[in-house]
């Protein structure tokens, strides 16, 4: 019984960084920027968050430092990919490598440690106990008592769904991805919108980093993003960038991630259980694409807005 609650808890916790980065990536997805730098932005955010929190002794500073770290990486990406027209794939790869090497180097130089940096001086972001719901048996412990960023993320998912589909900015963003010349022809700079999308994704990936290093755990470890940015990218492509779809898929992924661990208490070998989240992803991809093929044409049209116009 307790294990079930713990698994629900941990699926929410494991889903949050993927969802946050994924929400950031939604913007670049619709702006038709192939953003593979989310992993690196997240890692940089995780590092600057810990550094800020440790040096200032405040989680607020840590959080802003984390967002700033993600933004800084995104700025580099935007300058190269949008204004200098370099290849997005190459630029993104460079940022990921820079993030890994750079944070590792900075960790060693600033804190004189290698591997992991732990200290009671690192202030974690506060946890929220929901008054009434938290008292409910079963559901209460699963949904209450998480770092507050978890709830912010859920709210953001809904907010971003609205922002992309219901606002003028969202329309321009999607148009800039679909046909940049059309946007330019009406006097709106598509480059500017693309750069903005990259910066928003950087800020949200930075926030995902903050959540990792000041929320889920209170430490920084080399390469602690550990592929979560890539999973976010996969989830975006899987759900075609629908924020609410992202929310669902991240939770599913988070659940299977935890399930993989707990299945080990059965007689299934751990090598197999470790594949569970990835098998689930492939299965979801299959189901999703099958559903797509069977869908009526009108529906397909509205859902393919963000697709690469060149393809």
């Amino acid at each position: 019984m307790h294990l079930v609650i713990e698994m629900l808890r941990s699926s929410v916790l494991a889903a949050t960084p993927v969802l946050l980065a994924g929400l950031g990536g939604t913007y670049t997805y619709y702006a038709n920027v192939f953003n593979i730098a989310m992993e690196g932005m997240m890692l940089i955010g995780a590092f600057t968050a810990v550094a800020g929190s440790y040096l200032a002794g405040s989680w607020v500073v840590g959080m802003f430092a984390g967002v700033a770290g993600g933004l800084a990486a995104a700025l580099v990406f935007a300058v190269f990919a949008v204004y200098l027209k370099t290849d997005e794939f190459v630029t993104g790869t460079a940022i990921n490598m820079l993030a890994l090497g750079g944070t590792t180097y900075a960790l060693r130089q600033m804190f004189r440690v290698k591997g992991a940096f732990m200290s009671p001086m690192i202030r974690a972001i506060p946890r929220v106990h929901i008054p009434l719901v938290g008292a409910l048996p079963g559901i209460g412990p699963a949904v209450s008592g998480h770092p507050f960023l978890v709830y912010v993320t859920l709210a953001l998912a809904i907010l971003i769904e609205w922002h992309i589909y219901r606002t003028r900015y969202g329309l321009r963003l999607r148009a800039a991805g679909e046909d940049p010349r059309a946007v330019d022809s009406v006097g709106v700079s598509s480059d500017r919108i693309r750069a903005q999308a990259i910066l928003i994704s950087g800020a949200l990936c930075g926030l995902a980093g903050v959540y990792l290093s000041l929320g889920y755990v209170t430490l920084f470890a080399e390469n602690m993003s550990n592929g979560r940015g890539w999973i976010a990218l996969a989830v975006i492509i899987l759900t075609r960038g629908r924020p609410l779809g992202l929310l669902t898929m991240s939770l599913v992924f988070g659940f299977f991630d935890g399930l993989g661990l707990s299945l080990q208490s059965t007689r299934i070998p751990p090598q197999l259980t470790q594949m569970v989240p990835y098998i689930a992803t492939i299965a979801a991809l299959y189901l999703y694409s099958r559903e797509k093929r069977g869908a009526p044409l009108g529906k397909v049209e509205s859902d393919t807005v963000g697709k690469d116009p060149g393809m």
């Binding site: 294990l3 698994m7 808890r9 060693r108 440690v113 755990v217 470890a221 602690m224 661990l261 208490s265």
Partner: protein, 336 residues
């Protein structure tokens, strides 16, 4: 001019002779090659501490070559040690044992010391330092058993369940768990051991997730055998008000009041010890040196953090059992 040349030739010949018959000269350069990277606050760092002591006490040059778990760097690392002209090469060779054997055959004049596994080459020049993980883990199991059966310790529930979080499923980690279980069962046959493999050595987030699952299944104490991933285990212990056991180096102070003890692997002491035999001439190439509890190769870190958690009576019992293992009265079975 001619005589000068002759002197030079003689000198060269002597140098060459020395290089061939390696044992005849005191080593000047010591290389420490690791498959992973420094900074794990445990295994590799412990080895590095030993190398640092060698540098200080024997006035030799030392150099650490890290491979960062990148197989492409394994041959480069060995080559770098050769080119640097190292006399003694300590290697932690998971994943490139065969390569090490080839290099050792090619350069038989060097002292090759393989740490933590047993590697044999054709010319039998590699000396292996083999830690008896089961004995250290047995003692960790003793401590875990004493904690979970003692409800007077804060936060301990009546269920006799303990846990372990491994990095990946490999023979070394299996040996740890095998010893850990024996230790726990020695205290109480009814103790149940739950094990989770995180599947990664460097993801504390996943380590924490794994440990939390174990605590939610009523485990009172979790043994982390997962390098960096394990730092998340220690944090989970603090958050849940439960206990953990560290590994490889003394991790008791990392989460004060929640890490009862650490199962040490004194890689540094072993490296230092082997180097000493090279200097004093008792070194035997091709030997397999077993470092167990008695030899000080493995053992528990017992300090003020341990005393704060474990009642004096239990601590006494730990020390008694430790003596019995050292004297051979208790035999810990080996995994392989």
């Amino acid at each position: 001019m001619k005589s000068r040349l002759a002197v030079m030739f003689v000198a060269l010949a002597i140098v060459a002779a020395l290089a061939v018959g390696a044992s005849s000269a005191a080593p000047k350069k010591v290389a420490y090659i690791i498959n992973g990277a420094l900074g794990d606050l445990s295994f590799y760092d412990s080895g590095r501490a030993g190398v640092d002591r060698i540098e200080k006490d024997f006035k030799v040059q030392t150099r650490t070559i890290e491979c960062n778990f990148d197989p492409a760097k394994y041959p480069q690392a060995l080559q770098a040690a050769i080119q640097w002209n190292a006399d003694v090469i300590f290697v932690i060779s998971y994943g490139y044992e065969d390569l090490l054997a080839q290099y050792a055959d090619q350069y038989p004049a060097k002292y090759w010391v393989n740490v933590d596994t047993v590697v044999e080459n054709k010319k039998k020049t590699i000396t292996s330092v083999d830690f008896v993980e089961e004995e250290g883990a047995f003692m960790a199991g003793i401590v875990a058993g004493l904690v979970t059966t003692d409800t007077s310790i804060r936060g301990v529930n009546p269920d006799k369940i303990i846990g372990a979080v491994g990095g990946e499923d490999d023979p070394v980690i299996r040996s740890f768990i095998y010893g850990y279980e024996q230790g726990a069962k020695y205290i109480d046959k009814d103790i149940e051991v739950k094990t989770v493999f995180a599947g990664t050595w460097d993801d504390p987030v996943r380590g924490k997730q794994a440990a939390k699952q174990l605590y939610s299944q009523k485990a009172d104490i979790v043994f982390q055998i997962a390098a960096l991933t394990g730092s998340g285990v220690l944090e989970a212990a603090r958050e849940e008000g439960k206990y953990a056991i560290g590994v490889d180096s003394n991790q008791n102070p990392l989460q004060p009041g929640h890490v009862v003890t650490s199962d040490l692997k004194n890689v540094g002491d072993a490296i230092y010890g082997v180097f000493k035999t090279i200097v004093d001439g008792t070194y035997k190439p091709g030997a397999v040196l077993e470092y167990g509890l008695k030899e000080g190769g493995v053992g528990l870190a017992i300090d003020e953090h341990t005393q704060k958690i474990l009642p004096a009576k239990s601590l006494q019992r730990v020390l008694e059992i430790q003596d019995k293992v050292k004297s051979g009265q208790i035999k810990v079975k080996r995994y392989q």
